[in-house]
Amino acid sequence: MVAFDKCETRPAHIDAILNGLDRYNPETTTVFQDYVAQQCEDRTFDIYANLAVLKLYQFNPHLLQADTVTNVLVKALTVFPSPAFSLCLSLLPAHTQPFSTTPEAQAAAQNSDFVESVQKLARLSTLLESAQYTQFWSTLNSDDLYADLTADAAGFEELVRIRIAVEVGKAFRSVSTESLEQWLDLRSGEALEKFVTDVCGWKIDGSVVNVPTNKENEVRSEVKSERVGVDMFGRVIRRGFEQAA
């Protein structure tokens, strides 16, 4: 498991900024912004660096670029289930009220495109995190604003689709094509077949998709026995020597 603050695709100059005090320097904002744009382009994701740019915005609200923030959030959507999205929200201004449904929050959304975008993306995050994949796609397709928000993130839909497939593969040994079609938003049998065989390596058998056994979906009952190590007896053995002496 790669540590939270590391990222294999992170360039050296970003790493240097992150590990020094320059991460607070408003002048590095543009460097981070470019890096976010680059992540959108080459489909990589570096949460630790993205939190650093949100932190710069937190300290210097006048520098805040709505596009960069929404791109960071959109990228965080592609790694669900994970705390990435909520960690990003924690650094945003409180007035964005991402999950609030009060009239004040709705008014705030009407007055500000930025607030509206954040709230819309938070809705998508909730749907993904609560595994309501069918609703996720219908929500995503319900409003043109979503298309605008996700436009910068190359392959957004495909990345999400792959994540969904991975999660489904962990829980299912076989699943009906009907469910999978809805969860992956691949409505034609042809598209579904192509995706599950080419990308996932699964097999379709009539109206059922079979997922090969993996570590997560095999599920065996077992009784774990107690671990017994020599070290556990240290005290008893020492005591034995002390007594003898």
Binding site: L51, L91, F99, T126, E129, A171, V219, R220
Partner: protein, 475 residues
Amino acid sequence: MSYEDRANARPNLNDESDVEEEALVNDYREQVNFDDSMSELDRTTSLGGSQAQDLQAQLAAAATPLEYQATLETKFASYDNYCSLFHYILNSEGPVDLEVPSYYWAWDVIDEFIYQFESFCRYRNRVARTGSNEEEAQLLRENPNTWGCYSVLNVLYSLIQRSQINEQLAAIKRGEDPAAFAGEYGSRPLYKMLGYFSIIGLLRVHCLLGDFSLALKTLDDIEMNKKAMFARVMAAHFTTYYYVGFSYMMQRRYADAIRMFSHILVYVSRTKNFQKGGNNYDAIAKKNDQMYALIAICVALHPTRLDDTIHSAVREKYGEQFHRMQRGGPEALPVFEELFRSSCPKFISPTPPDFENPAYNVDPVDHQTSIFMDEVKNTIFNPTIRSYLKLYTTMDLKKLAGFLEVQPEQLRSWLLVNKQRSRQIRWVEGSLLEGDSVVANDLDYALENDLIHVSETKAGRRLVDWYLRNLARVY
């Protein structure tokens, strides 16, 4: 890490030697009796004249809490006092020749400095939000840079850099002599201690600002054990574990959060006798209760066996709420929210509020609470799912959906969510942000179309453990 390792990891939680524990207890006893630190300071300083008098007053003030009803002017003055004191310590020609009586003074200074920053930010936000006091609002508007986040961070980072404390700690970790890395400043206790506690201070500031990963990253060079320097000051020890535990919790690493909270709560319960009468007893008692509440939340989200002492204390303090959270379902949501609000840090917004639009200044505590509650809402049916699946080895999904009176599609979502949340990142070794993905639940399942296959990992009887424990009693 398998379930087995996990089951066995628990009893080793408190295996540090009793000798160490004893030393700490003695240390703590010392602290409680440590009331007249400032008079001691007077005797030990070598500076003379009125300038020294002045400095003494400043040093004393820096470690003393402001009165509860302090006016804005007092708060501004206090900020100026800190600025000039830290400026003197950091920017004099060469290290300042000041003897500090003990660890406690350095901790108190940093602690109070951050506390005042926190309460100032919250106060400023409240004035703007309620729009009640035009005069104060005006004064705050005119002084946007007082208690600014950059100056506060600047002080903490400067103290850390001047003392080269991170280099020293890294050397200790490697088993080398820290003195070789201390430099001109860091070899002096004043700088070393201020630097060290500034690291803990940073942990707290980042957490208050909602930057939970950076908070943990700050402790890269500190080893979390009883040998650590923070363990010598009770309040610092306590604060460190509270904020580390909380940061883990906000990253959904509940097992690690529970480990942190349990560690410090067990320690506190052992040293209870020495707290009574201590000057910060009330503050510690309050944080203590908060951590029990947070443990209750974490265990509800991530069922696990607790240390016996902790478990009975949680039940004693939060019995009813604990039970409701463990049962889950929408009725439990208000309980989660109430406990979270009463136990979370007092989050702050680092920048001046918008005085023109009161509604714009949402309380940061509301903000963080709603983010946390979103995750709770998403997982609120996990206990329901688990309680049913425990009863079966195979179960038809549609039948279970019928029992639960939900649509099969809804149940599939709940099953996926529960499965996902039973995988968690858990610390094994290295820095606090590292960890491995582990199966954090003894109940697992997989679906074959609509047929749910359930498996349960049971821990075998722990005969050797039982034998050894009983042996220890008599032999």
